[in-house]
Amino acid sequence: MSFLEVNDLKVHFPIRGGFFGGTQGYVKAVDGVSFSIEKGKTYGLVGESGSGKTTTGRAIIGLNKITSGKVLFDGQEITDLHRASKDIRRDIQMIFQDPYSSLNPKKRVSDIIAEPLRNYEKLTKGEEQKRVQELLELVGLSPESSLKYPHEFSGGQRQRIGIARAIALKPKLIIADEPVSALDVSVQAQVLNFMQDIQKELGLTYLFISHDLGVIKHMCDEIGIMYKGRYVESGTKEDIFNNPQHIYTKRLVAAIPDINPRNRSQHLQFRQEVKKEYEQAFNKYFDSEGLAYQLQPVSNTHLVALPEKG
């Protein structure tokens, strides 16, 4: 059995309007998403802005209300996380996208990192300080940092504080919502490698949400590609990058820049071909509303949203 299993997850937001503020319709932010993650692996969720990847992550951890569908964590249902037992909640933590707004500006670093410890573990002041120091050391910040305020740190350091807070309770699953997209490119690799290090060290499972295919390729074992709240393709890293089946995926993969300048014109030509194919085959791959079809298995690991035959 898989570690985290998401079954036909739907998150719909009501559109309120009209004279009496009634519900006029729904924004289908996430519309029937299913996937599963194995323990110790990294699952990448890719998609353009507004494709519902962040909403999916937030719904799993309980920040967005789930309209329908099921979320199973380690065999237990956590669809309504507020009702779920406290033990499960401490096993799922989140790393936020924006390291500037995700740390309370009025709290010292020691208070920020100790917050989860105070909620779940009854520690004395001394024990708590010791744990904070250990965590700071683990994420590569000096012990003196604990008395500082978040505004005294750089973006990369702040993100490390966010990571330290997320791993304070030794969780099993971490939902990383674009953890590096707000960071400088030079710091991105640092944070990503660090995340891989602690994954090995603590045996973490990641749900990695990103729009950067390069980052995804670096981090993930399995990948799901989202478009307008639905999956268009999912499979292992090799399936997606070497054998993309859906035109949307093909276009995404074609957009990864080539480092070799000699291939520039060739690459451009390839991109244009893919673009042409995308425009021509759009109606074939998407239904009348421009949404993806149901997923069809192509191989054991590879699922693609292809129109039903016949």
Binding site: D98, S102, L103, K106, N119, L141, E152
Partner: protein, 301 residues
């Protein structure tokens, strides 16, 4: 991991960040006007509460027909009013009464407003809607009229009952302010992060969100303190505040409605007017310094 060592070395040179009170202290010392205002305010408050301890209110407000309108002399430092009552004694007791009302009303409106606004703003939706309609109801009540009715109905009222009636109609402003800020603040990631870390709503509201509104609260409360002293004086001046048997700064100033007093007997109303001005200015100056202290970008110290 190599670069971590570099950071270790760099961080050791940086001093430990100062705590909240140290910053406030430093800011006030740096701002000479605020420092002067704070000292003046402290002196006035200690003097007023200290001296009034030794004064007998009954004795001071007793009419003495043999010493009407006496100019300042050795027996009466600030002369007497039209009832032959010692103006200095009235000034001290009046300032104490006015200050007590100002402080009590500010604290009570603050507490009610913060809790009300925070709950409405943080939960939002239906809770917000219901609470705001209650607030709107209080807002449309005519404050002045009700105070006049209150004065007419209750023949004998003291500082506490007067503070309560003022509080009942003055908590809406701060509640609205806190609500609007809480609405903004709850959308920030650190609130979401606290939720995922298992912190309860109540704890998030008052230990995570509230400190971020502290600058707003401190400034509003300080300015409200000045305004409430002014409001009390204003009501007393109009005759809807305290009767003459309970002196306040407003009752003293209201003697100036008599043109004779206004023109020839300055000692009755000038000290009270000057004291109102000084108190409100000093409170404002201190409030501004506190405002800067709570915002790292505006700090001078």
């Amino acid at each position: 991991m190599e670069m971590n060592k570099v950071e270790l070395v760099n961080d050791k040179e940086v001093a430990i960040s100062p705590s909240g009170w140290k910053i406030v202290g430093r800011e006030i010392v740096r701002d000479k006007l605020a420092l002067f205002s704070l000292i003046l305010l402290t002196v006035i408050i200690i003097l007023v509460y200290g001296v009034s301890f030794f004064l007998n209110q009954e004795e001071i407000v007793t009419v003495d027909l043999f010493s009407i309108h006496e100019p300042p002399s050795e027996t009466h430092i600030l002369g007497t009013d039209y009832g032959g009552r010692d103006v200095f004694g009235q000034l001290i007791i009046g300032t104490r009464n006015s200050l007590s009302i100002g402080i009590m009303v500010t604290v009570m409106t603050g507490v009610i407003g913060i809790i009300f606004g925070m709950v409405a703003g943080y939960f939002g939706g239906t809770t917000d809607n219901i609470l705001m309609r209650i607030l709107d109801f209080f807002q449309v009540l005519p404050f002045l009229m009700i105070v006049i009715v209150f004065v007419a109905i209750v023949p004998k009222y003291g500082i506490l009952s007067f503070s309560l009636i003022m509080t009942a109609f003055l908590w809406m402003g701060i509640a609205r302010l806190i609500r609007s800020k809480a609405l903004q603040e709850k959308e920030l990631d650190y609130v979401q992060a606290s939720k995922t870390l298992g912190t309860s709503d109540l704890k998030i509201m008052f230990t995570q969100v509230l400190p971020n509104l502290s600058s707003l609260i401190i400034v509003t409360m300080t300015l409200n303190l000045a305004a409430n002293i002014g409001l009390e004086s204003g009501l007393s001046f109009l005759g809807f505040g305290f009767p003459e048997s309970t002196p306040s700064l407003g009752t003293l100033v209201s003697y100036a409605r008599n043109p004779q007093t206004l023109e020839f007997r300055w000692w009755v109303w000038v000290p009270a007017s000057v004291l109102i001005l000084v108190l409100m200015l000093s409170i404002n100056n201190v409030g501004q310094a506190l405002k800067r202290a709570t915002d790292a970008r505006q700090r001078r110290g």
